[in-house]
């Protein structure tokens, strides 16, 4: 099989690539694997941050509770949370479903409402300086 005039053997056997390229390949693939590993194993959060209007409130995630704000119902179920009911037109916030991983969040723009999962360990959050 020929690809752009090169045989597959030439492509594979250093005709195009030089030795250092494989080093960069290796580093790049390591970064990709580490990033994907982090992506699929995100740490779970510790508490739920709800910002409603100008207020910010914190709730523990490890409880079963339904919180009622003016137009919105938020459900917390042992480590995960969701927006259960809302009066907005498109209902996108409800379609987002459950969130449980750190830094994930659900917003309801018409109601200026946001829930997000946070961790107690804020080691790499530059806004906390």
């Amino acid at each position: 099989m020929k690809l752009f005039g090169y045989s597959m053997r030439e492509i594979l056997l250093l005709k195009l690539f030089k030795l250092g390229d494989f080093l960069i390949f290796f580093i790049f693939i390591t970064i990709i694997i580490l990033a994907l590993n982090y992506y699929f194993h995100l740490p779970k959060g510790d508490y739920l941050e709800i910002s409603h209007g100008n207020e910010i409130k914190h709730y523990s995630l490890f409880q079963n509770k339904i919180l009622i704000f003016d137009e919105i119902e938020v459900e917390i179920n042992m480590g995960k949370a969701r927006i259960k009911k809302s009066n907005c037109a498109n209902q996108y916030c409800i379609m987002q479903g459950w969130i449980s991983k750190i830094n994930h969040s659900v917003v309801c723009i018409p109601n200026l409402f946001k829930i997000s999962i946070k961790s107690k360990m804020l080691s790499y959050d530059s806004t906390n300086y």
């Binding site: 390229d21 990709i32 994907l36 982090y38 992506y39 994930h104």
Partner: protein, 165 residues
């Protein structure tokens, strides 16, 4: 014509190609928002190999400014993301000059440029546009596509440099 005018003529020719590619890419449909092949980088890498680093800087920056004027994103967040990506990828290209050409080919150059591009974009987005750690969720997807597209781009550059097999 003196050597300098020939050089300016060549640089403007490559600028024009880069602007066309960059503008065409903007209107190109992508399955995931924000993932683009970065075909204008082919021209920047080609300019660097054919002339020197200074010409590549000219082509890259002129491309960012002019194509943003054409598309209509001048001084919008899109423009600043594009500019920071281009600047960081040029810094990476500058650092690539010190690598031995015996061991490192244009594949390394292309991959490091792509990495610089993605890092520059992420820095600007995290600092000014979406100041939330949530943006790093996208990082694995972006770095994966950077790897794939920079390999394809480098292959195209290698074909452009030696078209006669």
């Amino acid at each position: 014509m003196t050597a300098q005018t020939i050089n300016i003529h060549q640089i403007s020719k490559f600028c024009a190609i880069a602007i066309i590619l960059h503008s065409a890419e903007f209107f190109f449909p992508t399955p995931i928002f924000g993932i683009k092949p970065g075909i204008a980088n082919i021209i920047i890498l080609f300019t660097y190999l054919k002339f020197n680093f200074k010409s590549a800087v000219y082509v890259s920056l002129i491309r960012v400014f002019i194509s943003s004027l054409i598309i209509g994103t001048f001084i919008t967040p899109t423009f600043f993301i594009s500019l920071s990506g281009a600047i960081l990828s040029l810094i990476f290209l500058f650092l690539c000059q010190f690598l031995s050409h015996k061991f490192f080919s244009i594949y390394t150059f292309s991959m490091l440029m792509g990495l610089g591009h993605i890092l520059g974009q992420f820095i600007i987005v995290r600092m000014f546009i979406i100041p939330d750690d949530g943006v790093f969720i996208l990082f694995p997807i972006f770095i994966l596509f950077t790897f794939i597209f920079s390999l394809i781009n480098a292959f195209i550059v290698s074909r452009l440099i030696s078209p006669s097999n």
